[in-house]
């Protein structure tokens, strides 16, 4: 009987048999059965280079030790990773790496989470036999305003230069000089411009590339780590909030292959100072022209009273950085309790949101054959990590067309009729152009044409899904002619009160000139927020709330993926936003009895069944087509 041809190969590693697909590296095959092979230069997202030589293992029938990070498995291969020869060699190579490493671990920010440190402990020699002066290089060289480079600590694994070449495609970092004099640097020592520099610090296996913001802030073992979502844009990159003594030290990436592919942009990564809390704050109510500190109960009673007074003419603006739970309560407060439809989360005019806006999942960009980025850099600026996905796709052979918003015709002409899968990316401001182009392309080509609209704010999509819009209810429901007014029309719409809820200074209510005039004449402005803003000046009630990084909840990213955010910073003296909203509603006659965020999520899913996706952190599918 002829052997069945499969794409699987079986090999033996340390006596254990493992079956993996063809084209797997020995390293990954070993990882699959829990065998640890030490590495420095190898990175799962980058092509193998085998420069650090740390991962050399014995492969039977091959005379030399083979780099596990660069040799692909073959059927019947016999690999040994723990032989005496390999063990001795691992000591040798760590010895080599350390002879020119300054060993200034006590002052190094990487100390404690350093692969070089860990592997030296696990595999390295106990002591150095090198008793000559080490090679000296510049220390703490500023590569940009975000990153410092310590050339002495660098072990030349090439991860950062390869990131710069293979992941971001910017080729900003390069190797200069050769031999022991090799250093990492930018062209002409000019400051690095990349928007993805923070990733260098994460992939660096030593403390050569460190963040200036996090410099000497903490030791890794002092950090409280909380899995959450990046608050900067609608990409929904998974982050880890690292806090020390209840202050955020840094944001680190957390791999989610479907969203961020383990990278973060600098805008998101270095955005955390916006969420640092200064001091304790109590609710305030304006009496006789000045704000007086009061208790929450008093402030809530005052707010409810004032809202009742304004009747149905109250407008509500919730930030696109609020959680779905808050937005759900906010929407119910207005629609059910206050009977007002003047709801909005937007800052300008954008085309109506539709479920079709998320037809193209982020990860599917790689599986398109043509992707039109309508608005070019504008789209990238709105969600920088998209660039990494686009560049990765481009390297895989996807044709990326970056065209201006008005140049849809160029894309239309450039895409051949036989294209199979086409994606269109645009910001929500340019949605109409994207829809038009999609219609034209659908006529021209045989394959599918899908679009992905980049929303604003980490929960801009959720705000649309939950109907924080004047003309659409939750789940894009029609309001049957009972639509309210949008934010831009409020000044002329006879609005008598405004309730603003925001939990992120990055996506706050920034009044335009016209709005400022209007706000100063408004009889009631309730400002429920995390951080002080100019709006405090005109507010009649200030209700302190939690920041994006201080609460539990869920947010929906641009592709409709519902992900959980968690409390990284404990600000327990501040009452939870949902509780305040519930107390305001109850003071107005409602009888909500939520005891936790989970209960609100449960209610939210009952009202909008597609949001059951929250349980898998999956995408919200409004219909079969998406």
């Amino acid at each position: 009987m002829a052997a069945v041809q499969t794409d699987q190969v079986t090999l033996t590693i340390n006596g254990q048999s493992v079956t993996v697909p063809k084209g797997t590296l020995i390293l990954d095959a070993a990882k699959k059965i829990g065998i640890d092979i030490p590495i420095f230069c190898s990175h799962p997202k980058m092509a193998p280079v085998a420069v650090c030589r740390m991962c050399l293992v014995e492969v039977e029938k091959l005379p030399k030790l083979q780099p596990a990070c660069a040799v692909y498995v073959a059927d019947g291969m016999v690999v040994k990773t723990t032989t005496e020869q390999v063990g001795k060699y691992q000591k040798d190579v760590l010895g080599f790496l350390l002879i020119n490493h300054p060993l200034d671990c006590p002052i190094c920010d990487k100390g404690g989470e350093c692969p070089l440190q860990d592997q030296t402990y696990q595999y390295g020699p106990g002591a150095s036999r090198f008793d000559f002066p080490k090679a000296h290089f510049d220390k703490s060289v500023p590569l940009s305003d975000k990153i410092l480079l310590d050339r002495e600590r660098c072990i030349l694994c090439w991860r950062c230069t390869r990131f710069s070449e293979e992941i971001s495609g910017e080729r900003e970092l390069a190797l200069i000089q050769r031999g022991t004099n090799t250093i990492i640097g930018t062209f002409n020592d000019e400051p690095a411009q990349s928007n993805y520099q923070g990733n260098w610090t994460e992939i660096c296996p030593v403390g050569a590339l460190t963040s200036r913001q996090y410099r000497f802030i903490s030791r890794p073992w002092d950090l409280d780590r909380t899995a959450s979502i990046c608050p900067a844009c609608s990409m929904g990159c998974n982050i880890q909030i690292d806090a020390r003594s209840n202050r955020i030290g840094r944001f680190q990436s957390r791999e989610n292959v479907a969203v961020d592919d383990s990278w973060l942009c600098d805008r998101g990564r270095f955005s955390f100072p916006n969420f640092q809390r200064q001091g304790q704050e109590r609710p305030r109510v304006r009496r006789n022209g000045s704000l007086e500190e009061v208790s929450y109960e008093e402030a809530i009673a005052f707010t409810a009273d004032a809202l009742k007074h304004a009747g149905g003419q109250v407008a509500g603006w919730a930030s696109p950085a609020d959680t779905n739970e808050e937005l759900f309560l906010f929407s119910r407060l207005f629609r059910e309790v206050l009977k007002s439809a003047h709801l909005d989360h937007r800052s300008g005019v954008v085309a109506d949101a539709e479920p079709d806006d998320i037809a193209l999942p982020i990860a599917d960009i790689e599986r398109c054959d043509q992707v039109v980025v309508l608005g070019g850099q504008g789209v990238i600026d709105a969600a920088p990590v998209l660039h990494l996905r686009l560049f990765k796709s481009e390297r895989k052979g996807v044709k990326i067309l970056k065209v201006g918003v008005t140049e849809g015709k160029r894309a239309l002409d450039a895409i051949p009729a036989e294209a199979q899968a086409i994606g269109i990316l645009a910001t929500e401001a340019d949605k109409q152009a994207a829809v038009d182009l999609q219609a034209k392309l659908a006529k021209k080509v045989k394959g599918s044409v899908r679009r992905l609209i980049v929303t604003t704010g980490p929960n801009g999509r959720g705000a649309k899904d939950l109907g924080i819009l004047p003309h659409q209810g939750p789940g894009y429901a029609s309001l049957n002619g009972r639509a309210g007014r949008g934010r831009l029309q409020w000044p002329g719409a006879g609005v008598k009160g405004l309730y603003v809820h925001e939990s992120s200074p990055l996506h706050g209510f920034v009044p335009s000139d016209a709005e400022s005039m209007w706000l100063s004449t408004l009889p009631l402005v309730v400002f429920h927020r995390f951080k002080a803003s100019p709006l405090d000046e005109v507010a009649h009630v200030i209700l302190p709330g939690h920041a994006f990084t201080e609460k539990y909840g869920t947010v929906t990213n641009m592709e409709g993926r519902v992900q959980r955010i968690r409390r990284g910073i404990d600000a327990e003296w501040v009452r939870e936003d949902w509780r305040v909203l519930q107390q305001v509603a109850n003071a107005l006659g409602a009888s909500w009895a939520y005891e936790s965020v989970e209960e609100i999520t449960g209610d939210l899913v009952r009202e909008l069944p597609p949001y059951a996706a929250v349980n898998q952190e999956a995408r919200v599918l409004w219909s079969e087509s998406t």
């Binding site: 200034d104 671990c105 006590p106 002052i107 100390g111 410099r215 000497f216 802030i217 030791r219 002092d222």
Partner: protein, 170 residues
Amino acid sequence: MALKEVLLGPLYIARALATTFKHNTKPIVTIEYPERQKAVPPRERGKHILHRYADGLEKCVGCELCAIACPVGCIVVEAAENTPEHRVSPGERYAKRYEINLLRCIYCGFCEEACPYDAITMGPRYDLADDHPDKFIAVKEDLLEPLSASISDTAIPSGAPSAQPVARKW
């Protein structure tokens, strides 16, 4: 029986007094603490000292290894970066905040063992008493070696009382 005891009674008293008088002539082992203090052994593990280099710069780089080595978690260190204008230690990093809770400390000396720069050692001071727990949080200024050397805390205790206790209200 009783008569025998009565007769021997004075003898017993005399023997007891003899013991008493014998000790009167022996040297005194107690000292008048706190006016006088006993010398401590050279490796006494008393209150910690943060050392300086000869040029006055602090040895501590704020690496927090003492804090992690501490079995009771009584040390808090926060580091900061040296600048040319504000140089506290050689190199890049110094301890901006260095605090030891002396009430929680078990004086095990692990911090001393862990220190890669010999910046912290256990000193000879043992007479730690105060009237409020807050006063036992030793901050950097309390622990740091004074700028001019040869000050009590740093000197290795000799036979003489090494550390003059701070004058206290009794």
